[in-house]
Amino acid sequence: MRRSIIFDTTVRLVFDAALVLSIYILFAGHNQPGGGFVGGLVASAALALRFLAGGVDEVRDTLRVPARLLPAVGMLLAIGTAIVPLAFGKRPLDHGLATWDLPLLGELHVATATVFDAGVYLIVVGVMALIIEGLGE
């Protein structure tokens, strides 16, 4: 297929930034607008750009792992955070929260809810990647 150098280069420039943005959205989601679903959508949009620039092969190269692994790992994370609290005598999906003071970075909140959200993120990206792979051949 014919590739446009300008589009190609622009996509490469934008892609990493978009991924970083999507991960920022994922983590910021707990206190500011964002979350796993939106983060996953932004990452998927970045992936879609890669597809538009270079087709399915480029998407596969970018992912490095088979696309079907992403929803699987995502489901494991999401269901895992739902089930693990049971082992500690809590109700399913009870979330823990820890706060540390880190040098330079300041106060850091870590919530297990973020792990759950990361699962959602992976599922969304994975579903889009699967659709692109399936339809884009």
Binding site: H30, G34, G35, S44, A45, P71, A111, I132, L135
Partner: protein, 766 residues
């Protein structure tokens, strides 16, 4: 100790399965460790348990849901554990010589048998209804796999499916009964439930549901047909699961429940009616088959009916007799199966019409056949006689009802004597059962010592227990007392001349007469036989269900997208509007749509939507639809919902990309113009649905009667969710279960997409 015993079964079973091909016959040795250890444990703890202190163990499972795994071994459970592990051991020893040379089949058999033995042990030691149910269904599943062990034959697969559907279906009914009982009693502990049994209508319904489970498992009419079919399994499996162990699970459950529930509602009439009918019908059917295993299968059904009556009637003395019959039956029936297996393997057939006479070297097998058949027919000096005497005596001592039941039992026992005689004759002198002009042949091959040794052990036990009843009198007594504190048993060889002895003599005499008159009886049965049997009925029902499912799919999934859309849209519109018309609408609040910023956005959405419908090119339509979507996102921005807006923008963008992927495969333009009538219909439907939705939302926002939950959620977000983004806290915490459900749907949809596309690829590239 108990949980580790069950765990040992699971681990060894899985090991044997995993290494089936490599281990071959050695898998039987590996697997045998589990029942051997269980048997030793049971023997070592027998003294303490028989003194009246049950062994218990409790392991917490899911504390958050209040679930725990409780085990309790009292004397009756001990009897069951001894039978399961003891006979299991004999079966594993026997299977090595029975099975053919295929290594992986032997290995799989060993693994599955051990897994089954573990599940069965779990059933009889569980003290929580839910643990019992879990193990119960595990026995059904392992039974399914074992019946279908030789899965290359269609017959085996169909038989396995039949057994699975019937027993698991019964199990589900039982689960519903357990849940009702647990809720009525306020406890899911078996001992707690039986100590303080509830009563009333709900309990009656629950008991019927539980009984359905027990009847299916123990092959009672009208669910019996799976058991004769299961005889396609290799004989070690039939001898273990389908005579001595698994089919006793229903008996076990009935025995446990009867003392507490026999007086409640329909229990006694149901149990006695079904049991007696099964005993008679199974006994009659056992007089007909020429296949020895079929004969044994119907005999087993008949004996199970007998046990259901004894255990279910709920009178202490009869229950005690039931325990004795249970033990005697397990011993003689498994021995008989082993004998039939030996004959089948060595002579190459188990069809009465083709059996040769057994020649030299068959002495031990003959001994087992005689001992076990005689025990089955309740001939004196054998375990079966001791047990049946108890049953006769106990029922004679009861009231009028019990004596009526006794009449049925005696009739069933007469049939038992007749088919026992038929079985024994078939093994010893098959020529007597068929036309005498057939040339007599004699088997030259004889089985090896290792092959018949397990059968001889089981057969000898029938004799030893029959001659020395005090060996097991204490065990039966304690086991009966564990079921019903008022029960007691005193097994004796000689009770003196009494009515029970007379009945035994009458039974034997009538049975012998029935056997001698076998030719006229067979002709009569031939004439009276119903045109269909249970298997036909089951397959007929299954066939109807499949056809009904096909019809439903064809009718509801016509394959027309406009039709689907039309139904979905008109329903989403009609149902709420009907509610609105019936319930009336509240005041309309104009402030929700009257801000100036809304007007240009609404115009954008409108233009996008209308333009989409009149676009000629697909690509243009997609872009226009996207612009309507972006308009929605702008609306969210205007309303101060950045989360929603961000999500909507991303979704719209991706939506366009996915559409582009699909469009590559479609023509550039919409070339198909719908007929005018259709177009009018569609426009009409769109307008109605659109206007209706607007009215609905206006009415909905105005008809709030209590304060919304959003205030409460924003108050809760920070303290319980630890986040300041309410939307996100709702998604991951407050309504986290919803999100789990939604992402599961998403992942399932992805699998669906992949599967659909993969299927299409296969069609394209054959």
């Amino acid at each position: 100790m108990l949980p580790s015993l069950l765990l040992l079964h699971a681990v060894l079973g899985v090991c044997a399965l995993a290494g089936a091909r490599r281990f071959g016959r050695r898998a039987l040795l590996v697997g045998a460790i589990a029942p051997a250890v269980t048997l030793s444990w049971a023997a070592l703890s027998a003294r303490g348990i028989l003194d009246g202190t049950p062994r218990t163990s409790t392991a917490t499972w899911v504390p958050g849901l209040g679930l725990s795994i409780d085990f309790r071994v009292d004397a009756f459970s001990l009897v069951m554990v001894l039978l399961v592990s003891g006979i299991g051991l004999a079966i594993l020893a026997y299977a090595g010589n029975y099975m053919g040379p295929d290594r992986s089949t032997v290995g799989r058999l060993a693994g599955l048998l051990v897994l089954f033995a573990g599940a069965m042990t779990g059933v009889v030691v569980a003290d929580s209804l839910l643990t019992l149910y879990l193990c119960w269904e595990l026995t059904s599943v392992t039974s399914y796999l074992l019946i279908g062990l030789e899965d290359e034959t269609a017959e085996a697969r169909a038989a396995a499916r039949h057994a699975l559907i019937v027993t698991v279906g019964g199990g589900l009914s039982m689960l519903a009964g357990f849940v009702l009982l647990g809720l009525e009693a306020g406890t899911f502990s078996l001992s707690g439930l039986l100590a303080d049994p509830p009563s009333g209508t709900v309990t009656s319904v629950a008991l019927v549901l539980v009984l359905v489970g027990a009847f299916t498992k123990s092959a009672q009419y009208p669910f019996h047909a799976w058991l004769p079919r299961a005889m396609v399994a290799p004989t070690p499996i039939s001898g273990f699961l389908h005579s001595a162990a698994m089919v006793k699970a229903g008996i076990y459950l009935i025995a446990r429940f009867a003392p507490a529930f026999a007086e409640v509602g329909p229990w006694r009439p149901l149990v006695v009616g079904v049991g007696l009918f099964t005993m008679l019908a199974g006994g009659l059917r056992a007089l007909r088959p020429f296949d020895l295993k079929q004969l044994l299968a119907f005999g087993t059904i008949s004996q199970l009916g007998f046990l259901v009556v004894l255990m279910g009637i709920g009178h202490p003395a009869v229950t005690a007799a039931g325990v004795a019959v249970l033990i005697a039956h397990a011993l003689f029936k498994s021995a008989l199966f082993l004998v039939v297996g030996i004959v089948d393997r060595t002579c190459g057939t188990r069809d009465i019409r083709e059996l040769p006479e057994l020649g030299a070297g068959w002495g031990p097998v003959r001994f087992v056949a005689i001992a076990a058949s005689a025990s089955m027919a309740a001939v004196p000096l054998l375990a079966g006689f001791i047990a049946k005497e108890q049953a006769y005596a106990a029922l004679l001592d009861g009231g009028t009802g019990d004596r009526l039941v006794l009449v049925g039992i005696v009739a069933g026992s007469v049939l038992t004597v007749a088919y026992s005689a038929r079985l024994l004759t078939a093994i010893l002198r098959p020529d007597l059962l068929i036309a005498p002009d057939r040339p007599r042949s004699t088997s030259t091959a004889a089985p090896s010592v290792a092959f018949w040794a397990p059968a001889v052990v089981l057969g000898a036990l029938s004799v030893i227990l029959g001659v020395l009843p005090r060996l097991w009198s204490g065990l039966v007594d304690e086991a009966a007392r564990a079921l019903d504190a008022a029960a007691s048993a005193h097994l004796l060889l000689w009770h003196g001349f009494n009515p029970a002895l007379l009945l035994s003599a009458v039974t034997l005499g009538l049975g012998a007469a029935l056997f001698l008159l076998r030719e006229p009886v067979a002709r009569l049965q031939e004439r009276l036989a119903p045109p269909v049997d249970g298997t036909d009925v089951f397959e007929g029902i299954l066939d109807r269900v499949v056809r009904l499912a096909g019809w439903t799919s064809r009718t509801t999934q016509a394959g027309s997208l406009p039709l689907y859309l039309g139904i979905i849209l008109s329903l989403t519109f009609l149902v709420p509007v009907l509610a609105l018309l019936i319930g009336g609408a509240g005041p309309i609040r104009p402030e929700s749509f009257a801000r100036p910023i809304h007007w240009p956005i609404a115009a954008l959405i409108l233009i996008g939507a209308v333009a989409t419908t009149i676009a000629r090119r697909r690509f243009a339509a997609v872009l226009l639809l996207g612009s309507a979507g972006y308009g929605m996102a702008l609306l969210f921005v205007a309303q101060g919902a950045p989360d929603l807006a961000l999500t909507q923008f991303s979704v719209e963008t991706l939506f366009v990309v996915v559409f582009l992927l699909v469009l590559r495969r479609l023509p550039d333009r919409f070339d198909h113009e719908p007929p005018r009538r259709d177009a009018v219909l569609r426009i009409g439907a769109s307008v109605i649905v659109g206007v209706g939705s607007v009215l609905l939302f206006l009415a909905a926002t105005g008809s709030r009667v209590v304060e919304g939950i959003s205030g409460e959620m924003s108050r809760l977000a920070e303290p319980i969710g630890g986040g300041r983004n309410i939307v996100n806290v709702i998604l991951v915490d407050i309504r986290g279960f919803d999100t789990v459900g939604e992402v599961t749907v998403l992942a399932a949809a992805a699998i669906g997409v992949v599967a659909l596309l993969a299927g299409r690829k296969r069609v394209e590239e054959p």
